[in-house]
C-alpha cells in the first residue's frame, strides 16, 4: 500500500512541476490504455453473456425435451472428458519437448543453428489447423497404425493401450500428437524468451562452482524460467482445449468415456462436437451446443485461473 502512495505522490509532484496539469500526451495515453482495457473486458463479458443467454434454454430444459433425450450433464460429461484428455495428452507430449527445444536453442546450439531452428519452430505456429488436420488424417494416422498395433500387442496390459487398435489411425493418440505439434511453438517461444534472460551472473557463478552444463541449467535456468514455462504451457493448453478443425477431421468419435487411446471409439471434444453437429441442428439442439460451449469457456477459465495460482505460489517462494 505504501509503495502505491509514494508513486502517486511522485506523479503529483511531477504534474505540479509541469505547470499544474498533466500534459496532453499523458492524458491521451492513459485514456487509450483504459479504453483498450475496457474493450477486452467488454468482449469477455459479452461472450459470456451470449453463451449464458443462448445456452440457458438447454440448461433449464428437462432431459425429455432435449434432442438426445438425456440430461445436459450426461450429454456434456463425455465431451468435457474428451476435451481434457486431448488437452492433457498434448501437454504431456509437447511441454517436455518444447522445454528441450528452448534449452537447445538458448544454451546448447551454436548461434547460427539456434537462429535457424528458432525460425523453423516459429513457422510451425503459422500453419493453419486445417492443414494439421489433413496431415493427421492422410500421413500421421496411417503411419501410426503399425505403431499402435505394436503398442496393443506389447503394452496392452496398460489400460490406455488396451485396443483393439484402430485400423485407420484416427485415434486419440494421433490427435494428441497433432495437438502437441500445434502447441509446441507457443510453449517453446515463451520458454526460449525467458531462458535467454537468465542472469549471466547466476550461470557463470554456477559454472565457477564447478557445475557441469546440465547442472548449471538445472540450478539456474530452469528455476528462473519455471513460472514463465507454466504460463506458456497454459497458453498452449488453451489452444489445445479449443482446437476444432484438426480434431473434428481426425478423430473417430463414437465412444463415451474411455481412457483407451488407440481404439476406434473415442470421446469427442466439445469444440469438435459443435463443429460436427452445428450445420444440421435447429431449435433446442443449437442451444444445447452453445451450452456445451459455455462449459468449454468455464474449463478454459478454470485452467487459466489455476495456472495463475501456481505461478503466484512459485513466485512467492
Amino acid at each position: 500500500m505504501s509503495s502505491v502512495d509514494t508513486t502517486t505522490n511522485a506523479g503529483q509532484l511531477l504534474a505540479t512541476a509541469s505547470g499544474g496539469r498533466r500534459r496532453r500526451g499523458d492524458r491521451i495515453f492513459s485514456n487509450t490504455a483504459v479504453i483498450a482495457a475496457v474493450t477486452i473486458l467488454a468482449l469477455l463479458v459479452g461472450v459470456a453473456v451470449f453463451l449464458v443467454t443462448e445456452g440457458y434454454p438447454a440448461l433449464t430444459a428437462s432431459s425429455a425435451e432435449l434432442p438426445k433425450g438425456e440430461s445436459f450433464l450426461s450429454y456434456v460429461a463425455p465431451l468435457a472428458f474428451g476435451t481434457c484428455l486431448a488437452g492433457v495428452l498434448a501437454m504431456i507430449i509437447a511441454v517436455p519437448l518444447a522445454v528441450a527445444v528452448a534449452l537447445f536453442i538458448t544454451h546448447i546450439a551454436p548461434a547460427r543453428i539456434a537462429l535457424t531452428l528458432g525460425f523453423f519452430v516459429d513457422l510451425l505456429a503459422a500453419i493453419p489447423s486445417i492443414i494439421y488436420g489433413l496431415w493427421g488424417i492422410f500421413v500421421l494416422g496411417p503411419a501410426a497404425v503399425p505403431a499402435m498395433k505394436w503398442l496393443e500387442e506389447k503394452l496392452g496390459w496398460i489400460p490406455i493401450f488396451e485396443g483393439p487398435a484402430s485400423i485407420t489411425g484416427r485415434t486419440m493418440l494421433v490427435v494428441g500428437l497433432v495437438l502437441a505439434v500445434m502447441i509446441l511453438p507457443i510453449v517453446s517461444a515463451v520458454a526460449r524468451e525467458v531462458f535467454s534472460q537468465t542472469p549471466r551472473k547466476l550461470q557463470e557463478g554456477a559454472q565457477a562452482l564447478g557445475a557441469t552444463r546440465w547442472e548449471m541449467i538445472r540450478t539456474t535456468v530452469l528455476p528462473f524460467g519455471k513460472s514463465s514455462v507454466i504460463s506458456g504451457a497454459m497458453l498452449g493448453l488453451g489452444r489445445a482445449l479449443g482446437e476444432t478443425m484438426a480434431v473434428a477431421i481426425i478423430l473417430s468419435v463414437s465412444g463415451g468415456v474411455t481412457f483407451n487411446l488407440i481404439g476406434q471409439a473415442n470421446p469427442s471434444t466439445i469444440a469438435a462436437n459443435i463443429a460436427l453437429n452445428f450445420p444440421e441442428s435447429s431449435g433446442l439442439a443449437i442451444n444445447l451446443l452453445i451450452a456445451t460451449g459455455l462449459v468449454l469457456f468455464v474449463i478454459t477459465l478454470a485452467t487459466n485461473f489455476l495456472a495463475r495460482m501456481i505461478i503466484a505460489r512459485s513466485n512467492a517462494q
Partner: protein, 379 residues
C-alpha cells in the same frame, strides 16, 4: 484505491456490453417489422415473362450442393439478369433459415415434419401463401467396403443391420459366408464406419435399417449415428477416406462418391440390387405419399419411402432431398424467380444435369408431373 478503479473499469465494460446487446435487440425488431409490413403488401398473380430477373438466396442440404451449383450456373446463363445463391449449411440450418425468412428457399434431406414443429412454422412463414415442398434430388446410398480380393459382396438386409449394429464381428462369419458361396472371406475384423457429423445420409440409412430389419435394428431413426463404438468420420469424404484406409472397413456413403471402393449388393425380394440411379429412382414410384408429412397441404409432396419393397430392379437405400419454398413472396418478381428456378431444377433437363454433376437419379416421369403441378402453384 486501486481496487475501486478496477471496479469502475469492470462497470464500464458491462455498460458497453449492455449497450451492444440493446443495439442488437432493436436491430432484429426493426428488420422483422419491415418483413411483416412488406408481406402484407405482397401481391401475386402476375403473368410470367419468359425471362426472370432479380436475386434470391437458398440454403440447406450439402448433399444437393453439387446439383444446385450446376443448376444455378445453367439457370443464370439462360436468365442473364437473375442471380441465385445456394449456401450448403446443412439441412437443419437451411430449414431454420427458411422459417426465419432469411432465405427464399431451402434444400432439405428430410421433409419438414410436425414432430419438431417445423412444418407448422413453415406454413406460417408462407402465409398468406402456401408451402411448397417437392423432391428434387434422389441419390442412392452405397454400402462401401474394403476387402482386398473380394470383388463382389452380397449382403442380406438382416446381415447388414447386424454388421452395423456390431453383432457380427468378423468377415468370415457363417452368416456372411452363407450369402457369398465361393467367395474367400478373410478372418479380418469388421470395422463399421459411420458419419461423426449429423447428416441426412445417416438419417436415410438408419430409416432403411429400422424398416427392413426391425428385430435387429432397434435404434431410433436419427441424423446422428446411434451405435457407439464404431469408427466415425466426418462428411462423406471422411467416410470414404476411412474405409479406403482400413482393411476390413465397411461404411455407407453417397454412391457417386464411392470411387474405387467395392459396393455391396443388397438383397431386395429375391434379387441382388446394386446402387444405380435408375434403381434408386424406381423406389419413389413404388412409395406412397405420407399424409402426416403433408398435413393436407396440396403443394407438399413428401413420401413415406417404401424401403421394404420386394420388386426387382429397385435399390431401396436412397436419400431423397427436397426443395422448400412458398407460393407467395414479398414481390411478384421474387415469386416468379423462385418458380422459374424450381421448374428448371425439377425439369428433365435439370435432372439430367444433376445426374451428370453428382450421380443423382432423375425424377421419374410420373413424379415429374406431380412436381410440376405443385411448383406451378407458385404465383
Amino acid at each position: 484505491m486501486s481496487s475501486s478503479r478496477w471496479l469502475a473499469v469492470f462497470a464500464a465494460a458491462c455498460v458497453l456490453v449492455l449497450g451492444l446487446a440493446a443495439c442488437g435487440g432493436s436491430d432484429s425488431s426493426s428488420s422483422s417489422n419491415t418483413e411483416t409490413g412488406s408481406s402484407e403488401n405482397g401481391s401475386g398473380g402476375e403473368a410470367l415473362s419468359a425471362e426472370v430477373s432479380g436475386e434470391i438466396a437458398g440454403a440447406g442440404s450439402t448433399a444437393q450442393e453439387a446439383a444446385q451449383k450446376a443448376w444455378i450456373a445453367e439457370f443464370e446463363n439462360a436468365n442473364g439478369s437473375a442471380t441465385i445463391s445456394y449456401d450448403g449449411v446443412g439441412s437443419g440450418g437451411g430449414r431454420e433459415k427458411f422459417i426465419a425468412g432469411a432465405v427464399a428457399f431451402a434444400g432439405s434431406d428430410t421433409p419438414l415434419s410436425e414432430e419438431e414443429g417445423e412444418l407448422g412454422k413453415a406454413i406460417k412463414r408462407c402465409g398468406p401463401g402456401e408451402l411448397v415442398e417437392v423432391p428434387d434430388y434422389i441419390s442412392p446410398i452405397a454400402i462401401v467396403y474394403n476387402l482386398p480380393g473380394v470383388e463382389e459382396l452380397k449382403l442380406e438386409p438382416e446381415t447388414l443391420a447386424k454388421i452395423f449394429n456390431q453383432e457380427i464381428e468378423n468377415w468370415n462369419d457363417p452368416e456372411i459366408e452363407k450369402e457369398n458361396p465361393g467367395v474367400e472371406l478373410p478372418e479380418t475384423r469388421i470395422v463399421p464406419v459411420n458419419r461423426s457429423d449429423e447428416s441426412g445420409t445417416t438419417e436415410n440409412f438408419t430409416d432403411y435399417l429400422s424398416q427392413i430389419a426391425p428385430s435387429v435394428w432397434t435404434h431410433e431413426v436419427s441424423g446422428e449415428w446411434p451405435v457407439k463404438g464404431g469408427e466415425a468420420a466426418s462428411g462423406t469424404s471422411g467416410v470414404i477416406e476411412a474405409v479406403a484406409a482400413g482393411e476390413g472397413a465397411i461404411g455407407y456413403a453417397d454412391a457417386s462418391q464411392a470411387g474405387e471402393l467395392g459396393k455391396a449388393l443388397i438383397k431386395v425380394g429375391n434379387t441382388w440390387a446394386e446402387p444405380s440411379p435408375e434403381a434408386a429412382a424406381k423406389v419413389l414410384d413404388l412409395s406412397k405419399e405420407d399424409p402426416e408429412l403433408e398435413q393436407g397441404q396440396k403443394n407438399v409432396i413428401a413420401f413415406e419411402i417404401d424401403r421394404k419393397t420386394e420388386a426387382s430392379g429397385v435399390y431401396p437405400i436412397i436419400l431423397v432431398s427436397s426443395l422448400i419454398g412458398c407460393t407467395k413472396y414479398k414481390s411478384a418478381d421474387e415469386a416468379a424467380l423462385v418458380k422459374a428456378y424450381f421448374e428448371y431444377a425439377t425439369s428433365p433437363e435439370g435432372q439430367e444435369l444433376s445426374a451428370e454433376a453428382s450421380g443423382a437419379a432423375p425424377l421419374s416421369s410420373a413424379l415429374t408431373e406431380k412436381v410440376e403441378a405443385a411448383v406451378g402453384a407458385i404465383e
